[in-house]
Amino acid sequence: MAESKEVAKKEEFEPKIIAFLCNWCSYAAADLAGSSRLQYPTNIRAVRIPCTGRLNPLIVIKTLKKGADGILVSGCHPGDCHYIDGNYYARRRFIMLKELLEYAGVEPERLNFTWCSAAEGRRFASVVRQVVDRVKSVGPWDGYLSADLMEDFIPEAGNPGCTEPDDKGGVIDDQFI
């Protein structure tokens, strides 16, 4: 895995970004960007969701597990939610999700949250460009686990976490005189 990371030079690397777009605003913004012939990178895969409030944070965790290099979540601007306040609830969740994943070692550049209204096709295109640049700057995502440590992982050893003996723990020595 470490090798493939080196091979994929950062310039050539084309990230796979999953975009969760709210049906009422951001998905329409993506549509508008398309019908206005605005160019933006093709790295995003759009997933239409009814509202950002519907997006279970576990879906984002699972998406990264399944190999996406980055995430974009975009909904209506605060106050403009089709369901009145779905995006307000979503906002709190995203803040905590972002805090959690960054704390656990996911680069902040991979997690992108923003708001795009249905009239903002131009903004949507610029957001996508921005997101792709951000994800490219951190390179391919190789999973939640640190690749260096995984080389020591031996499933047969019963307890895989137990790789290093504790220096202080040895008792045959110090007990004998």
Partner: protein
């Protein structure tokens, strides 16, 4: 200064004796010493059953969260010995309409002297019960326990992203997927946990290290706005995984961003079922090139 375990134990025995005389209830939840093992274990007895009051005890090993057992028999009238963190969990149950207040007789522990080896006690911000019908021990002034977070070595806020990733990889690789952390957690009460869900499959079968990591991230994501920072997850873990630093980080962040701490009042709305139009947007993509 805190109460001594002995004082609390004596108080508890008196109070429970009194409750047996005065109150109508179905079941008692308390701590006692194991008959053969000598370890502190939850004592769960019906009112009619025989109970040796001298067996009841509160020591620095009483780490189990008795509030968790309230969930098993929500319809019964239960007496529960509750540490301050337990009372916060109970307040959370009441605010979420899981248990009726009338079904509970809470024996709170004032000025909790803490639990051995539980890192949560180092950053405890509630040394007195939030709700209680009876209390054991003397009330302690809360501000006496204010602590500087920078003393807490296990919170890795100062470390960089790579160090943190290495740390959690190393920790979560040990996970045996027993889910004791979930089972011991007083605020994990879903009837159907995502772990056991097979439509959709959140966690794939087998026990690969990446699945372990995903489990812990998902579990932690369910915690902000619920976690009362009691440390039961880490105390329950048979592999000694340091998982509480994740939930603790979110606990402190929720407090910083939203001034929210769970289980402080029975009429509190939970973090994710409430919002403020003025909530901050840290790290969100800003307007650009419009």
């Amino acid at each position: 200064m805190t109460n001594s375990y002995k004082e609390i134990t004596e108080d508890l025995q008196d109070i429970i004796e009194q409750i047996y005389k005065q109150e109508e209830f179905d079941r008692l939840l308390a701590y006692g010493r194991g008959l053969f093992s000598g370890l502190i274990e939850p004592v769960i007895v019906d009112k009619e059953a025989e109970l040796d009051l001298d067996r009841l005890e509160f020591t620095d090993e009483a780490y189990q969260m008795l509030s968790k057992y309230l969930l098993k028999n929500r319809e019964l009238k239960q007496v529960v010995v509750a540490k301050p963190c337990d009372t916060r969990a109970i307040a959370f149950y009441i605010s979420e309409n899981i248990i009726a207040r009338d079904n509970l007789i809470v024996v709170g522990i004032n000025g909790c002297p803490g639990i051995k080896d539980n890192t949560a006690c180092d950053e405890c911000d509630s040394k007195n019960p939030v709700i209680a019908d009876y209390t054991a021990g003397n009330l302690m002034p809360e501000d006496e326990f204010a602590k500087d977070k920078s003393d807490l070595k296990y919170l890795l806020s100062e470390e960089n992203q790579v160090t943190r990733k290495n740390h959690y990889t190393k920790e979560f690789m040990r996970c045996t997927q027993c889910y004791a952390c979930r089972d011991a957690c007083p605020v994990c009460y879903c009837d159907h946990c995502f772990v056991e869900s097979n439509q959709p499959v959140w966690l794939e079968a087998g026990s690969g290290p990446e699945e372990d990591m995903v489990f812990h991230l998902m579990r932690t994501m369910h915690m902000p706005g619920r976690c009362v920072n009691c440390g039961a997850c880490e105390m329950a873990c048979p592999e000694g995984i340091e998982m509480r630093s994740l939930t603790s980080h979110l606990y402190h962040q929720a407090r910083e961003y939203f001034d929210f701490r769970p289980g402080l009042a029975v009429d509190q709305k939970s973090l994710f079922s409430d919002y403020n139009e003025e909530d901050p947007e840290p790290g969100f993509l800003q307007q650009e090139g419009d």
